[in-house]
């Protein structure tokens, strides 16, 4: 029953109101009738339509942004020499990857991907380990949690100098910086996912006399995995960011996408710098998409949006 002064219900759902008299008690009651929406009448058609709209908007938004950028550049609203138009960048990319052996980006991309994957691998491994351990043990959480929280806020790029001295002047410091950054994102998300497994799930498992391994395998892991994949996806993007930033500071062998971007800035070659930015962005998109796909494959029970 609706209170007389209560706010009017959502008009998109509740279409009609009627006042009827209760024949038994004689009091008047408010009847609510709900009319079917388009989604109710033809759910399949509605879903298809919504998908088309979503996809169109997803494509239209970047297209509009790029178009605005192109306009600003060709109209001279921004200086095309330093902020090249998208068409200039595409032409530069074509020239770079096709014609110019001295600007062979494939080697740099390969080097960067290798560094990123190693860093991501170690970061994820340690992040999952700490996340599960701390998530499942209140005592460990109380012991290690505050320290990890304090370390989390340390700017990771500032650690490069320390890692250079500890690990040597080769690939390891870069991999370590990526790993440390990834670790924190994975650890936090995993711990949180494990802690927030509904108590009812655990209770049900306990009623079946599940042991610790069974509790982990059949309750905690399936329940937490979708949320963990969100963390892995965020960490994938962060791995690319950190890698490029690290290669700005230190790039063994003068190789890597970050080195290329930084070098292009140093030699006042903005088109090459933008090629690097596009390559980095594509790398990030691809990497995140792979993690997202893995998430969907490994957690088919999860709502689609929860793993991206």
């Amino acid at each position: 029953m609706t209170e007389p002064n209560s706010p009017r219900p959502d008009t998109t759902v509740l279409r009609d109101f009627a006042v009827a008299r209760n024949t038994v008690t004689g009091s008047s009651v408010r009847m609510i009738s709900r009319q079917p929406t388009a989604a109710d009448r033809n759910p399949g058609r509605h879903t298809r339509k919504r998908k088309i709209i979503e996809r169109t908007l997803g494509i239209a938004f970047p297209v509009v942004l790029i178009t605005l950028w192109q306009i600003a550049s060709v109209r001279g609203w921004i200086d095309r020499r330093f902020y090249p138009a998208p068409s200039d960048i595409v032409a530069e990319m074509r020239a770079t990857f096709r014609n110019n052996p001295k600007k062979n980006w494939w080697i740099d991309i390969g080097v960067s991907v290798r560094r990123m994957l190693w860093g991501y691998f170690w970061g994820v491994l340690l992040g999952l380990l700490f996340g599960f351990l701390l998530g499942m043990s209140r005592l460990l959480r109380a012991t290690i949690g505050p320290t990890l929280n304090a370390l989390y806020t340390v700017p990771k790029l500032a650690l490069i100098g320390i890692f250079l001295i500890i690990l040597g002047f080769d690939e390891k410091p870069i991999i370590a910086v990526v790993a440390v950054t990834v670790f924190f994102f994975v650890w936090i998300q995993t711990e949180s996912a494990v802690v927030y497994v509904p108590e009812g799930f655990r209770e049900a498992a306990r009623s079946f006399n599940a042991n610790r391994w069974q509790m982990f395998r059949h309750v905690i892991l399936p329940s937490a995995l979708p949320s963990i994949f969100v963390g892995l996806r965020v960490a994938a993007g962060v791995a690319v960011l950190t890698l490029i930033g690290s290669e700005f500071v230190f790039a063994p062998g003068n190789q890597g996408i970050g080195y290329r971007i930084n070098n292009a800035r140093q030699i006042l070659d903005p088109k090459q710098a933008y090629v690097g930015l596009v390559v980095a962005a594509l790398l990030g998109v691809l990497f995140i998409a792979i993690i997202r796909m893995l998430g969907r494959l490994l957690t088919p029970w999860a709502p689609k949006d929860s793993v991206g």
Partner: protein, 426 residues
């Protein structure tokens, strides 16, 4: 109703995107290059009837004045206080060359009509750019009716901003970004040089330069510098630093006439970490800056293989579009203030002047003891004639510059006119 609204929104979005696309396909031939129509600046510094400049009270004890030692050839300075000594022959690259100087407090200020703010960028606040910092803190800029807005920015990132007129002055070096700006015809030029080390070229005095491990050479007691050609080296920016220019020049000057670095492996390592890389044998040689080389002074297993070239400043103050093209009178005012600061506070061994050191310490955030651990720099606002060409040749040889094959003429990279007008030689 809702459906109608959705349709309307979709229609509007599609129309907006279509109109943007149509506009984007419009005229793309509009030239974004700024016009360079400003007339050559008038000579504003030649008059000598100015009142005596406030020289400040801290310069009385500066030692070793070089005012008497200007070169006899080259442009003749005529401004009051700079007569005969305010400019030197740019072709003079002799060891022990004395820089141009005016008397303390000169060139005299000629304030602009109204207070003008200039945007000045530098990645550092260090001793080498302390003339700029003291020009501000000691009021020399204010005497010209100039106010400085300091921006912390790397030189390469400042170049586009200078070309756009957003940054007026940038502290940097003879870097590829500057050379590329010259090659591209951008309104960005080096107008004032900064300094050279007092003992450059003297290998009995430890200093900034290329330091090597002796055990990297086949005969550690008497290292053959030719072997550096195939070694693993490091600088903070990799190949594209002017440090390799002085390395090549100095090793050739030490007797290895055919020395080149084409086959050397050059790494980019943060400057603070290069000493550790050298000690850990991660590199054979590295460019080690002030005061980090001090840790190698008493260690015979390391030695200085190349110092900066003597008498040749390699750092710069560059002017952007506003000072070069739009309002050169502001550039002249800045140049006068800068030269006057050097003449007043940085003449000779300024490390012996506690008042100046206190001001430098305040401006740079270091303490005077730290600063005094190394020798006074020789501040020098003049460029040598050969420098830009030789630096470009090396960068082309090393593959750092790939967009042009022969050096860009010096006048596209350097504009000496501001300094020359300031001393009455323009």
């Amino acid at each position: 109703m809702l459906r109608t609204r959705k349709r309307l929104a979709t229609t509007v979005s599609v129309l907006a995107a279509a109109s943007l696309l149509i506009t984007a396909c419009g005229d793309d031939k509009k030239d974004a290059t700024p016009t360079t129509t400003a007339a050559a600046p008038s000579s504003t510094a030649a008059s000598t009837d100015s009142t005596t400049a406030g020289s400040g009270s801290t310069a009385e004890s500066t030692a070793g004045s070089t005012v008497d030692s200007a070169a006899s050839a080259g442009p003749k300075a005529t401004a009051k206080g700079c007569e005969g000594t305010g400019a030197t022959d740019p072709n003079d690259t002799s060891v022990g060359r004395k820089p141009a100087r005016c008397e303390k407090g000169f060139p005299a200020p000629q304030p602009l009509k109204e207070m003008t703010t200039i945007n000045v960028s530098s990645a550092f606040k260090l001793e080498f750019n302390s003339p700029l910092l003291l020009a501000d803190s000691m009021g020399e800029l204010a005497k010209e009716n100039l106010k400085m807005n300091f921006i912390n920015l790397k030189f390469a990132d400042a170049v586009p901003q200078m070309a756009a007129g957003q940054i007026d002055v940038a502290v940097g070096g003879l870097e590829v970004a500057l050379l590329a700006a010259g090659n591209q015809g951008l309104p960005v030029k080096a107008t004032l040089a900064n300094y050279f080390p007092p003992h450059a070229g003297d290998y009995t005095v430890p200093q900034t330069g290329l330091w090597c491990r002796r055990d990297a050479f086949t005969t550690p007691d008497k290292p053959n510098l030719k072997e550096i050609e195939k070694m693993k080296l490091a600088s903070s920016v990799g190949r594209g630093t002017v440090s390799w220019y002085y390395t090549v020049e100095e090793i050739r000057r030490q007797g290895v006439a055919d020395f080149n670095m084409v086959n050397a492996t050059i790494e980019a390592i943060p400057s603070a970490d290069i000493p550790a890389a050298l000690q850990n044998n991660a590199i054979n040689c590295g460019i080690i800056l002030d005061p980090m080389w001090l840790q190698f002074v008493d260690k015979p297993e390391y030695f200085l293989a190349a110092s900066q070239t003597p008498g040749e400043p390699l750092g710069i103050y560059a002017f952007g579009k506003r000072l070069l093209v739009d309002n050169p009178e502001i550039g002249d005012a800045f140049a006068r203030a800068f030269l006057r600061t050097v003449n007043t506070y940085f003449n000779g061994d300024y490390h012996k002047d506690p008042a100046v050191m206190a001001k430098i310490a305040e401006a740079t955030g270091q303490n005077p003891e730290q600063l005094s651990r190394v020798d006074s720099l020789v501040m020098d606002w003049e460029f040598r004639a050969k420098t830009t060409t030789e630096v470009q040749k090396l960068f082309i040889e090393l593959g750092v510059i790939t967009d042009w094959k022969t050096p860009v003429p010096e006048d596209k990279i350097i504009d000496r006119s501001f300094a020359l007008r300031a001393v009455g030689a323009g």
